[in-house]
């Protein structure tokens, strides 16, 4: 099982420290919580490639049953899905297929947070922040691995994009969970209100664009954290955690 190395500064950021550094006592607790998480987490992931097609807004309009709002939005056809979202369409511009993926740290963070909530709430928020960073770091490391192998095969990875970003509906979670069979494959489930459990989990779409050998940098850059996690293309500009 992979050991996930979180970025300490990201944990501080989740805890609300903006430009300051926490004192030694808090940093000791962070170290303790991270070590516990590293020992107890059971990271798992699953990914699958699907071909996709983007129908621009006017083409999507041609569909017989498009409602009013649909008429002005592009539609992404991905396997058996027809996703209406302009932010995702923008993100996937130029891609002919996409990697659908889901990753989770398992049940340990939820249990540790719950347990700490009874004994030391200050530890609970640290577990919460550390685990939030660890699932990001885990996704980044998976991303890096795919980046390496796809680049070799002549593909470029677009920044990963998750349900809830921009105008991409959260209800897409249901389809991702179904297509990847995540309850069985990695133990990731959804509640009726679309909450992922275990809670330290991520689902996302990563567009794959064929590189043009003459114009290698035609796609969005994937080497900065913000691009990788999709902050740059997200419309929730007032988000507390926007980079």
């Amino acid at each position: 099982m992979p050991i996930i190395e979180p970025r300490e500064k990201e944990i501080w950021r989740y805890l609300g420290y903006r430009n300051e550094e926490p004192g030694q006592d808090i940093r000791d607790r962070i170290t303790h919580c991270v070590e516990t998480l590293q020992r107890e987490c059971t990271p798992k992931h699953i990914a699958r490639e699907f071909s996709l097609e983007i129908l621009p807004a006017d083409a999507a309009h041609a569909g017989p049953e498009g409602g009013k709002s649909r008429e002005t939005l592009p539609v992404i056809r991905l396997h058996d899905l027809a996703i209406t979202s302009s932010s995702l369409a923008k993100n996937l511009q130029g891609c002919e297929k996409a990697l659908l993926f889901a990753a989770t740290l398992g049940h340990a963070p939820d249990r540790l947070i719950r347990r700490a909530s009874v004994t030391h709430m200050s530890d609970a928020v640290i577990y919460q922040a550390a685990a939030a960073e660890m699932i990001e770091a885990y996704c980044d490391s998976l991303n890096d691995g795919w980046n390496a192998s796809y680049t070799q095969q002549g593909w470029i990875l677009h920044p990963r994009f998750s349900p809830g970003y921009g105008d991409l509906s959260l209800s897409l979670q249901r389809d991702i969970i179904r297509l990847l069979d995540t309850p069985r494959q990695i133990g990731l489930t959804l509640t009726e209100s679309l909450i992922m459990l275990p809670s330290k989990s991520v689902t996302a779409i990563i567009g794959l664009e064929r590189t043009d050998p003459d114009h290698p940098a035609s796609a969005p850059q994937t080497n900065c954290a913000a691009a990788r996690s999709g902050c740059a293309s997200c419309t929730l500009t007032d988000c507390l955690y926007r980079r």
Binding site: P22, I26, H107, V118, S122, A124, V125, E192
Partner: protein
């Protein structure tokens, strides 16, 4: 047909089938398509697949119902299930194996996580599985297979559904990783304890691992299970090749590793993901030496020796993740979750302060308890409801097995039913009416039951008299099918100051139980010292003597260092602590140095008041300083001049952005601990409360960390908080607000999908209790959004809730 399956199970090799999904995909099933619809639309394909397994040698075929449940088939479940059973039965007919092959109704996980970690209620899961069981039984399945289970609690729900809605045999197999762990923490030992208790007919593992990694899982099952063991591995590790999933272990290699597993002594085998009939054919060859394509009917004598299941004399209790073996070494059962003689605990039960009760459990775990006794019986408390609520809550914060302690069979059943694992049950005694009420529950749900040596005539004076009651308990248990290994005898500790022989009588009785009946024993020791000074001296000495007598379970207060040092020393002296590891771990460090408390800086000024320590989040120092100050100041002065100003200072710094959330919470924890220390030293010195408020996470939302942060701060700033928890229906919030006449309600929601429930709650509150103010918070909310759904105030963080409360109550 049913008896024929049980006639063979555990008596000869049984060959199960292999994967279904990948075969369906080869026939055109698309990714994400619901495979079970094919039971109605592609019957011939399904029949064909079953038939190919039967012809390859499978004795048991699984119906195509893995994902058949009401979530996926709200309107057509029974058709889908009966269609599946009829396909399997038809295949059996066509294969000419009506006499010796069996149709197993296949039940997979429902895809949702059960409470308390998820949102699906346990009884909803039972009822969901019951529908599948009822439909499959009616359609004529021969047995029920519950498989690919990741969660022990969901496994239990499915087994109960099977047992309550059918007489068919039940086989249950779970999924383990390379370390032998389920996703929710269970191990082969944990699962065996629970499933044997629930009286399934066979158990084991399937999916996830290839055969090589399954060897150690199989070995662990065989070491603890008295039941037949089933192993169905995947065809190795999957990888995607040209868009198709392929597995790296071929049929011959698969069979050759399974030969190793067969030699360990398992009783049934098959394959899971990636396997097909060619794998089963190889297994058949491996077991029987038949050539490919040989007639499957009528097994020749096997090549591989078959070893019937071996009964194990193991007394196991378990939780979802830990199994404790009784009889191996003396274990500690923590006695502190019990209101008897504990004012603070009684208060917590009455005010529904679940966190206090949970903290009592965690404190004992940290102190070294192996099992926690849970007793919530108190006049005026609905014990059944409390048991049902507390058991899952405890199991969401601790993996220690629980001992359910109640005299009320209803409360006992409520606890045993929802319990995740195999509990201890406290208790029965020699009275027939008590045994008639409790033994059927132990028979149904499983458990290790405590037998008290008393009956309708009271407690016999002599060891012989008590011994006779023990014999009666064992006999009566046997008549319910409960084995001696699932009974521990309490020889009863009497007050030695009332009868100077009584301690010796108890020890003598223990000796007889152990030597003459081979029984396990349990003892609560603290009664022995009643009426004597320095009771811990006597208790510790008696504990040591009982351990020397072979005591298996000591019910003590693990927070008492005197008892723990006696316990650890006795274990070290009786060869129960190999290499003295436990003793050295406990005492090699300096006394008083605490391992779990956060490291704290040395104080700058040695005579600092509690306020200064609170500001720095140093809880132990703060409480100590407050106690010292109590010698020359009254409680109220300390609270008003030290605690409250300290919290005001950190609150202000937090708002200015010079101090951050973890520090704010550390200070709040220090303040809380100091309040409690003052309260304990000076009973009645409660902080003056500024007001009472409700906090709740709305229905559908199960994130409660934000709400919990708000709670601890509001409490520290002088508010009494009625914490209704998470996933709280609007009606509950409104009812409580009306009943308790609450002026301020705080609601939390994290998801856009659950804000609708927040809006609904606000609407209902406005309608039924218009004078109540409502403050809302949570990740997706903004001031505009809060206004839009009708809240009075949007709180961006916990301090802002406190400030708003000050406004409302000020």
């Amino acid at each position: 047909m049913r008896n024929r399956f049980l006639d063979k199970l555990g008596k000869e090799w049984l060959l199960f089938d292999g994967g279904m999904g990948s075969l369906l995909q080869k026939r055109g099933l698309k990714t994400g398509e619901l495979p079970e619809t094919w039971n109605l639309t592609h019957r011939e394909d399904i029949i064909d697949i079953h038939r190919s397994y039967l012809e390859a040698g499978s004795d048991v075929i699984y119906t195509n119902t893995f994902g058949a449940n009401r979530f996926k088939y709200p309107d057509s479940l029974s058709e889908i299930v009966s269609g599946a059973v009829s396909c399997a039965a038809e295949a059996r007919k066509r294969a000419g194996r009506e006499d010796d092959a069996f149709v197993a109704l296949d039940i997979g996980p429902c895809g949702r996580l059960l409470q308390p970690m998820g949102d699906l209620a346990f009884e909803d899961a039972v009822s969901l599985f019951s529908e599948i069981v009822a439909a499959g039984t009616k359609a004529g399945a021969d047995l029920i297979v519950i498989e690919t289970m990741n969660d022990s609690l969901e496994t239990k729900a499915a087994v109960l559904a099977a047992k309550e809605n059918s007489d068919l045999p039940v086989v249950a197999t779970c999924v383990f990783d390379e370390k032998g762990k389920m996703l929710t923490g269970g191990t082969p030992e944990v699962i065996t304890a629970m499933l044997e208790g629930l009286r399934v007919d066979a158990l084991g593992a399937n999916c996830s691992l290839g055969p090589d990694k399954m060897v150690s899982v199989a070995r662990r099952f065989l070491a603890c299970s008295s039941l037949p063991v089933v192993i169905k591995p995947n065809a190795g590790i999957p990888r995607v090749e040209n868009g198709e999933t392929v597995y790296d272990v071929g049929p011959e290699e698969f069979a050759s590793v399974m030969a190793e597993i067969a030699d360990l002594g398992i009783h049934a085998m098959g394959g899971c993901c990636g396997t097909d009939p060619s794998y089963i054919r190889e297994l058949k060859k491996m077991l029987y030496g038949t050539k490919e394509g040989a007639a499957p009917a009528g097994h020749p004598a096997p090549l591989k020796a078959f070893i019937p299941p071996v009964p194990k004399d193991l007394s196991l209790v378990s939780s979802f993740a830990d199994a404790v073996r009784i009889g191996e070494k003396t274990v500690i059962i923590g006695e502190r979750i019990n209101p008897t003689g504990k004012k603070r605990f009684k208060e917590a039960l009455k005010s529904h302060d679940m966190d206090y009760i949970l903290s009592q459990g965690l404190q004992q775990e940290d102190a070294g308890a192996d099992i926690l006794d849970v007793n919530v019986g108190l006049p005026g408390i609905d014990e059944t409801a409390m048991m049902k609520e507390l058991v899952p809550l405890l199991q969401s914060v601790t993996a220690l097995p629980l001992q359910l302690d109640t005299a009320d069979p209803k409360a006992l059943e409520a606890g045993m039913r929802i319990y995740n694992g195999k509990p201890m049950v406290n208790s029965v005694n020699g009275r027939d009416d008590v045994m008639d009420a409790v033994f059927p529950l132990v028979r149904k749900y499983g458990g290790v039951v405590v037998g008290l040596l008393l009956d309708e005539n009271g407690i016999p004076e002599t060891a012989e008299g008590r011994f006779r009651i023990a014999q009666k308990i064992y006999q009566k248990a046997a008549s319910f099918g409960i084995q001696p290994k699932d009974i521990v005898i309490d020889c009863l500790t009497m007050t030695v100051s009332a009868n100077s022989r009584s301690a010796l009588t108890t020890l003598e009785c223990m000796r007889k139980i152990r030597h003459e009946l081979g029984g396990r024993t349990i003892l609560g020791v603290s009664n022995v010292s009643f009426g004597l000074p320095q009771r811990e001296n006597i208790n510790a000495a008696f504990l040591i003597m009982a351990i020397r007598e072979g005591l298996d379970c000591a019910i003590i207060n693990p927070n008492s260092e005197a008892m723990m040092s006696a316990f650890r020393s006795a274990l070290a002296l009786t060869e129960q602590d190999p290499d003295f590891n436990a003793y050295i771990t406990a005492y090699a460090e300096e006394p008083g140095s605490s391992q779990s408390a956060p490291k704290q800086d040395a104080p700058e000024a040695s005579n600092a008041g509690p306020g200064a320590y609170i500001e720095r989040g140093m809880e132990t120092k703060a409480a100590e300083a407050a106690l010292q100050m109590l010698q020359h100041a009254d409680a109220l002065t300390i609270i008003n001049e030290e605690l409250v100003p300290a919290m005001d200072r950190v609150g202000a710094q937090f708002e200015k952005g010079t101090l951050f959330l973890p520090q704010l919470l550390r200070s709040a924890e220090a303040a809380k601990k100091t309040f409690e220390a003052i309260k304990a030293a000076m009973p009645g010195s409660d902080q003056a409360m500024k007001g009472r408020m409700i906090l709740a996470t709305v229905e559908g939302d199960i994130h409660d960390i934000g709400k919990n942060i708000v709670r601890i701060l509001c409490e520290n700033y002088g508010y009494e908080v009625l914490d209704l928890g998470k996933n709280v229906p609007a009606e509950t919030i409104v009812e409580t607000a009306l009943k308790e006449d609450i002026k301020l309600v705080g609601l939390s929601a994290l998801m856009t999908t659950t804000v609708t429930h927040m809006e609904e709650t606000i609407r209902l509150l406005r309608e039924k209790k218009p004078d109540t103010k409502i403050v809302v918070g949570g990740a997706v909310l903004t001031p505009e959004y809060a206004r839009l759904i009708g809240a009075d105030h949007y709180a961006r963080d916990a301090m802002s809730t406190v400030r708003y409360a000050d406004e409302v109550f000020g």
